[in-house]
């Protein structure tokens, strides 16, 4: 039936070489007008290159054919792409944080020659009309810097709509949203669809893809594997999708490491303002403990308290039978606690530095030579050791971290903290925004760490992530511990039911 549908764009035999890399291999792709089309694949599989071809940022190789707005062409220019209504919402959103919501939404009035001068009334009207069209309301006069990530996302969408968008390309829009915010986003996407707007949606979260997509295209190593209708007949599910994305079957099964006897961490009645209250739990040596809760459940704030960066109001933290006061992250590191932040790019990685600099920054004191300068040989040895142990493909010590894929960046951050020789490792959303294959690799690393006696706390809102990796999990909701679950004693469905009921 889709053969009959009107096409927004068609790519035929599109090839693209970057130097020696064949990024797109004879790729065919078509987009129906008014559909939500999900693009899935590993990091570096060619999704971004496809988006760049469609938006005209890059030219494909000779022999490629593209049909856009009913016109056949060899490549798309940015101007044609704009004229046909293609709007890309980049992952960084590209907003102006210092300007108001209204001005951000109507910013094209400053750059488009059709508008004369700066008319604040017109800017506010346009912004209001656009938000009305999306059926949402935001404070038009607020600076974008004061908004939550979710609201910023809405502003970015509104900005695209204000310029008469016909195709919205959203690059991983949900990676830093709470479940509730994702629901709001999806409601808006459906409304836009009803108004005839076409959407390309890039995401790593298979459950979200299955929820929102009309069709799904899987890309692997520059080759289009297939395009699927997301309906009953196709009967595609999360496991099947994960398999298609990675190219080999990934079967999740519980594979737990037996924890030791010794209690390494005990938290007693810890409270902090309205972030969390009365949190108590214990952690054994070599245990992998899950803390599951939505964004805003207080879990990150709790983790930061354990890492000395968010002073609790009351309660106690005991490490190996000794009460500790963690005034700063230096105190935490001294107590062999390591924390892998939720936002690896913002907090965990110095992206402009190379792999070696990133890995050694936490232990700079320990790789000193007799003169007190950095012992380069020692440092190189350490870096190569970690690259090897964590199996970071394509990583060389001198490679700039910004050029690496999300999964590998995550591993570098892991290595950086493992270098401090931690006994307690807190992982906040360790697989946020990385593809299924890289996820699997990270899980393997976690298991190996637990085997070597490191206690791990995994904080996550992804049910499978906790269920398959943590024998024991704590449920947090609105700053409270709602219960403790023995994952090995129940099925995934039962586990997921417990969690839904707790919220």
């Amino acid at each position: 039936m889709n053969q009959m549908a009107e096409k927004f764009i068609e790519l035929r035999h599109v090839n693209k070489h970057y130097g020696g890399v064949h990024a797109l291999k004879d790729l065919d792709f078509d987009l129906n007008v008014g559909e939500v089309h999900c693009l899935v694949g590993k990091n570096g599989c060619g999704k971004s290159t496809m988006i760049k071809v469609i938006s005209g940022v890059i030219k494909p190789d000779e022999g490629s054919e593209i049909i856009l707005c009913g016109k056949k062409m060899k490549s798309v220019s940015p101007q044609i792409s704009m004229e046909c209504g293609v709007r890309v919402i980049y992952q960084d959103l590209s907003l102006f944080p210092n300007l108001t919501v209204a001005e951000n939404i109507a910013f094209n009035q400053h750059t488009d020659k059709a508008y004369k001068g700066v008319n604040w009334k017109r800017i506010n009207e346009t912004a209001k009309e656009t938000l009305d069209m999306m059926h949402i309301s935001l404070d038009l006069g607020a600076d974008v810097s004061s908004l939550s990530i979710a609201d910023r996302q809405l502003v970015a969408i509104a900005r695209a709509l204000a310029t008469n968008a016909k195709l919205l390309i959203m690059d991983e829009p949900t990676s830093s949203l709470t479940r509730k915010e994702v629901d709001v986003l999806f409601t808006i996407v459906r409304k836009l669809k009803a108004q005839g707007i076409t959407v390309i949606f890039v995401s790593h979260k298979t459950d979200e893809i299955l929820e929102i997509a009309d069709r799904i295209t899987v890309v692997r190593d520059g080759v289009k594997i297939a395009t699927y209708d997301n309906d009953e007949a196709t009967n595609i599910d999360g496991n099947k999708l994960a398999e298609l994305i990675s190219g080999h079957s990934i079967e999740y099964k519980q594979d737990f490491v037996e924890p030791g006897e010794e209690t390494v961490l005990e938290v007693k009645n810890l409270s902090s303002g309205r972030q969390y209250k009365d949190v108590s739990f214990t952690l054994k040596k070599g245990e992998v403990l899950g803390i599951i809760g939505l964004l805003g459940a207080g879990r990150t704030e709790l983790a930061l308290s354990l890492f000395g960066m968010n002073k609790p109001d009351s309660g106690e933290i005991w490490i190996k039978g000794q009460k500790v006061d963690l005034h700063s992250n230096r105190d935490a590191i001294k107590n062999h606690i390591a924390y892998l932040p939720e936002d690896r790019l913002l907090q965990g990685l110095v992206v402009d530095q190379n792999v070696e600099d990133n890995m050694s920054i936490t232990v700079i004191d320990r790789i000193k030579s007799a003169l007190g300068l950095i012992d380069l040989k020692k440092r190189r040895g350490m870096t190569e050791g970690w690259i090897d142990r964590l199996d970071i493909k394509s990583a060389k010590p001198g490679v700039n971290a910004s050029t690496m894929s999300g999964g590998n960046q995550q591993k570098i951050v892991v290595a950086k903290w493992l270098a401090t020789d931690p006994e307690i490792l807190i992982l906040d959303q360790p697989t946020n925004g990385i593809d299924v294959a890289a996820k699997d690799a990270i899980y393997k690393v976690i298991r190996d760490l637990a085997k070597s006696g490191i206690s791990v706390i995994i904080i996550s809102d992804e049910i499978p992530e906790i269920y398959y990796n943590c024998p024991r999990a704590i449920l947090m909701h609105k700053g409270r511990v709602k219960g403790e679950v023995d994952c090995s004693a129940m099925t995934e469905e039962e586990f997921s039911e417990v969690i839904v009921n707790a919220q």
Partner: protein, 329 residues
Amino acid sequence: MLSKLKENKFFSSHEFYMSIALVALAIFFGIGTDGLFLTPSNLLNMVISYSYLGIMAMGMLVVIISGGIDISFMVTATISQYIMAKFMLEFAGANLVTSILLSVVIGVGLGLVNAVLVHYLKAPTLIITIATMSIYFGLLMYLTNGVRLFSFPAWFSAKTDAKTTGVALGLLAVAVVITFAIMKFTKMGRKIYAIGGNIDAAKRVGINIFLVHLFVYGYVGAMAALGGVVHLYLVQQAAPNALYGGEMDVIAMAVLGGVNLAGGKGSVGGTLIGMLLVATLSNGLLLIGVSSYWQDFFIGAVILISFCFSGWRNIKNREKESKGGKLDD
């Protein structure tokens, strides 16, 4: 009622707190000088003698909002002032309009050189403008041998109180109004805010960054030259080293007025308050008999205190947002 007041944007703005500080300082100096500080003639003279720095601060505001900085503007002011002085002395046909025009054109030209360097070298603007400052100043001292110029034609040197007030406050008002209008009501002004806020996003929406840079650095040059004209009128002599070294006062005005040195934030009103703060401090300290060496000390201290205060407010706000209150039982 009080909580409503607190929610109002103005009452939580940096400008609001700075005006309170200004009023408090004025009262303090008023008491300390038995009212001498607060006499209309003292206040008027104070504003007049700081007007040229205020004009330059308008240019500084614009360049800092764009995400850059210009250290060379004082030397730009000196060069255009010196050439204007020479022009008035050597050309019998010179008049006020052509002299000011010449000065401003030279200021803009020197600013454009900065813009081109900033754009093509892609080096920090601080480094580039320190370099051009040194180069220009060295050349200026060499070419002039440090000779002062004075004895200007009567149409420039015959001063009355009314004329002085008119020139100083008039040109300050022109600079303030034009800067306000540009930043608030022109596309160029909004683009300057945009590139100061997120230059990558600005490129993506198709802003021609080079054009904006040309405008911004040209504008600083123009304001520097205009300030130079007022200064020349007030002191009636052009000395190659008279202005050099005053850069920090102007930057202090902008900073006290609340511009964000990282770019993207800052207001004309705030900068005006910043100018009055610096003027009040210097003039007030002088009147209560504090050595002028201490003036820099106090200006520095006020900058530090204002930074600590706004930093403290930011931390408190953030804490309140994330932690405030308690969870209900």
